[in-house]
Symmetry: C2
Subunit: 276 residues, 2 copies
Amino acid sequence: MNFIESLNASWEKSASLLCVGLDPDPEKFPARLSGCHDAIFRFCVEIVDATADLVCCFKPQIAHFSAHRAETQLEDLIAYIHLNYPEIPVILDAKRGDIGSTAERYAAEAFIRYAADAVTVNPYMGGDSIAPYLAYPDKGIALLCRTSNPGSGDLQLLDTGGMKLYERVARLAADKWNSNRQCALVVGATYPAEIARIREITGDLPLLVPGIGAQGGDLRSTVEAGCATRGTGLIINSSRAILYADSVDPAGGARKAAREMRDAINRYRAPAPTVP
Amino acid sequence: MNFIESLNASWEKSASLLCVGLDPDPEKFPARLSGCHDAIFRFCVEIVDATADLVCCFKPQIAHFSAHRAETQLEDLIAYIHLNYPEIPVILDAKRGDIGSTAERYAAEAFIRYAADAVTVNPYMGGDSIAPYLAYPDKGIALLCRTSNPGSGDLQLLDTGGMKLYERVARLAADKWNSNRQCALVVGATYPAEIARIREITGDLPLLVPGIGAQGGDLRSTVEAGCATRGTGLIINSSRAILYADSVDPAGGARKAAREMRDAINRYRAPAPTVP
């Protein structure tokens, strides 16, 4: 199965659109992990085990590993997910963007070294900067389109002859760049009207939506604006609101927060899924 | 000294606008390095030692390390350059782009873990995505503006109300985002007319110019279009054409190629510098 097929199967099996973002922050770990040489791996494994039946995807964020010299722990974490939860796709959040031989190296990093199923990529350098990722036919990319931060409008909202820049990116990702059906888009939950516009442009393209929880997006309007046909099409990411819900019992807190968020999302899906 | 001051001092001392890009490719290393556990570090050190008196900067490209699980060798390489050639700034080519706590982690990766003097950054996510780098007052960023690849026009050439997208980025980098004078721009050598336009917009902002050598940019028109007042303002990068000039004697080949390129660049500078 390629990435999009795996994602469809995972949406179906989990009855969840929730993605848990793995953004480990050692300063927020419980005291019992202090001093462990692989505390980042252990913390993330606790979260993964506590939430695996509640999610459609996991999304480790690479900077939270690389800033701590923890690349090996990231390799081990993704291997752990594949081994124990082979039906759950892993999206490596790296937002890479480069060309030619360098993009080939980034693709090798994401897909060979880390064995991710998909990677987030920045579209600013254009079509040939994403081609090296698409050369892996079973893998996917999630292209930045309309991000959830206050400054995202500096470029993304510029009018480019009747279409905003992010709408151009959505169209390129849905048409010209998606000949092998490998593309998804990153669209912040802070702008539901724009999610609706992107859904209109892209048909059933998967949308990876950060900004729920700590960043304050409105869940109902996000789900209603973003769902594709059959009530899927969204990968709704939450990181901090799940990982750090309970500072003493991260696994218990994460499970409770993830279950609540999955259920809240499902209330607004049409048709509503049957939770296993 | 902050990054821009170091760069000015380095241009002055070296009488060179050449930057050697450290893009190690183990498949192109000489046979004597095969089997070495730190072949990437050793190869790069040979190149650094052979060219240090001919360059204004070094620019290691991180994907060429991370795809080979060689982060430690990258740390060691940058430490080696700082120790042995403390006057030469190191630009980490990583093209990162993210927000909030994640961008803080990327900044920590570049400036604390790797101790780079500057890092390349993607502007697509807007002003708040670059703020965490600018929070290090002695460090710099080189923002992608007009890149040298064929697909770069997909977004960068879009007309945004009388200015192309890359011109908007140039203006933001020169004005709104540069309050503490920490910004440079990445501008491909394949478009000299656009280098001239960017120079016009940005005054004396440093321009990091890839695309010389293997990518085929024209040196004379690049230098004439891009030099700032006093014949500086350019960081002209060459990677493969220097690193792999001689497959048997990489150091000798690199020195010869770097000297030729430095001299060729200097022929077109006005005023011409006095080489030490």
